[in-house]
Symmetry: C2
């Protein structure tokens, strides 16, 4: 009987994976690109070429209980990734079966944001909290909802796609889904970048450090760096992003009345530039009974750690 687990986090850009013991220590970890592979089988091959030696170094397959995977649109019940707008692999991808066949270990799948929420519940600020929502602000916007200490899966395993809720009727186009005005088109790294371009175009006479970057170079990280130096447009980008995110959070609070919202992922590096407008906007949009009750925190877990730990936790369920 094995004592270790593999946790795999398939993100929109990068896939991270590691060996985890029952106490939540990551003994070893590595990563490969997600975007590089048009064909999922080539992705599985490269994953295997890194994972199998890693398993060998840790006592071989007999020393492992199984593999837990978090992925966008990952379905716990079916083990398939279905119509993930942010991945190259279209339609329904039987990812759990593919990994199981390749590596030879039982494999469970869930939504990447659900995996992050499990990580937060076991090792982060949400420890001991029965009602919380984890929002991942990365390439896209994902969410894991916890009610009464359990991840909300819904009747079909797809609950918690809060990034795709519409927050601006007729708003910004989302390439992956064709929708207009969803949260993800604003409150993701991609969204921040797009907002920056919009604000630069709207206000062509306003000086901005952002104008020193080429279209390629300008990322959410660049916007953060410029905002930290006091750049007016860059700061406005985070105010706008926080305003929209806060409105969405208010709607979510009025759904499940969580005690805490944990924000997670690349965009949280912006710190107070993002937190202040987000909190203010959430409070302004809540009705009386919910005001000044809900904590918003940035995850204190190392990003790749939480995702790997959360995914690996599926194995011990």
């Amino acid at each position: 009987m094995g004592k270790l687990a593999i946790g795999i986090d398939i993100g929109g850009t990068t896939t991270k994976f590691g060996v985890v013991d029952a106490e939540g220590n990551i003994l070893e970890q590595d990563r490969i690109s997600t975007t590089k592979y048009e064909d999922v089988n080539l992705f599985i091959n490269d994953l295997d070429s890194k994972l199998t030696p890693m398993i060998q170094r840790n006592g071989g397959v007999t020393n492992f209980i199984g593999i837990g995977v978090g992925a966008p649109n990952g379905n716990y019940y079916s083990g398939t990734i279905e119509y993930a707008p942010n991945l190259n692999w279209k339609g329904i991808v039987p990812i759990a079966e593919l990994i199981h066949k390749k590596i030879g270990l039982p494999t469970k799948l869930t939504n990447d944001a659900n995996a992050a929420a499990v990580g937060e519940m076991q090792y982060g600020y949400a420890k001991g909290i029965k009602h919380f929502i984890c929002i991942t602000l990365g390439t896209g916007v994902g969410s894991g909802i916890v009610i009464d200490g359990k991840i909300v899966l819904g009747h079909d395993g797809f609950a918690g796609e809060l990034g795709h809720t519409i927050i601006r009727k007729g708003g910004r186009f989302h390439k992956g889904t064709g929708s207009h005005g969803c949260l993800e088109s604003y409150a993701s790294a991609t969204g921040v970048r797009e907002t920056a371009f919009e604000f630069l175009a709207e206000d062509p006479t306003q000086e901005s450090l952002l104008r020193n970057y080429t279209t390629e170079e300008l990322t959410s990280q660049t916007v953060y760096e410029c905002a930290s130096k006091g750049d007016v447009i860059a700061k406005k980008v985070f105010e706008f992003t926080g305003e929209i995110l806060g409105e969405a959070l208010a709607n979510f609070v009025m759904f499940s009345s969580p005690e805490m919202i944990v924000l997670f992922g690349g965009l949280t590096k912006a710190g107070d530039l993002l937190m202040k407008p987000t909190k203010a906007s959430m409070e302004a949009n809540l009705i009386q009974i919910f005001k000044n009750k809900v904590k918003i925190v940035f995850s204190n877990l190392h990003e790749s750690d939480a995702a790997i730990l959360g995914a690996s936790a599926l194995v011990w369920e």
Copy 2:
């Protein structure tokens, strides 16, 4: 040991109550106004003057286990109605305690829409369904959310205030809360009436049966009757209402992925005039993984029955 329960449904306009047996038969029922009483103590007095004789006729207090109450912003944990925008009684009202002291039976409270959802789960279309959302379209818009067969209460007992989620940024003003563009300001009886006035004003040369009514006379019922006769503006009112409701439902589906949405309350009398645009709009706003999966149904329970039954079910928990 008693065998009967009292179910009380405190609605925005009317309070309905009845004697219920363990099989879900309503042995007797009655109603009083909710709006008439500025002081909650006068409300309790009148409720008692109807309820106590009703209890006497059914074997006296010793024949009853307790009282279950559904009310707007009713809190299961504290037994208080808190800051209900649609009621005269402001602040925090200890309604369960007031009723308990007056009638002498143990009293439990929940949100009125949660009570309706429990009624649907036990006696309606949602029987046997583990994941569904019940939306009440009455004077206001309430909601009861069921996940894994349990009402979602949230960390403080206030979960499921979907009528107050913002669906149109900067939209119609809501008198009760001061918010702009919440679902309740459009998809309630009050909202339908307001939409009718707006459409009549926007299109002053368009003939409409609705113009035959005074401001007082024009209600959601009038709009329904005119729409049934083919009135262009009245039909447009329901199309608009359904469009907004459908957008909101799509957002809710992407939160908890329910198998079914049960619509309940006065507005559902509009039948296909409301159902068709609601379904079309919901489907148009869902991402691929949720499309053509979620049933929307109108409750088949008699309105006051479901609310009384649902409230009484609190007693048997």
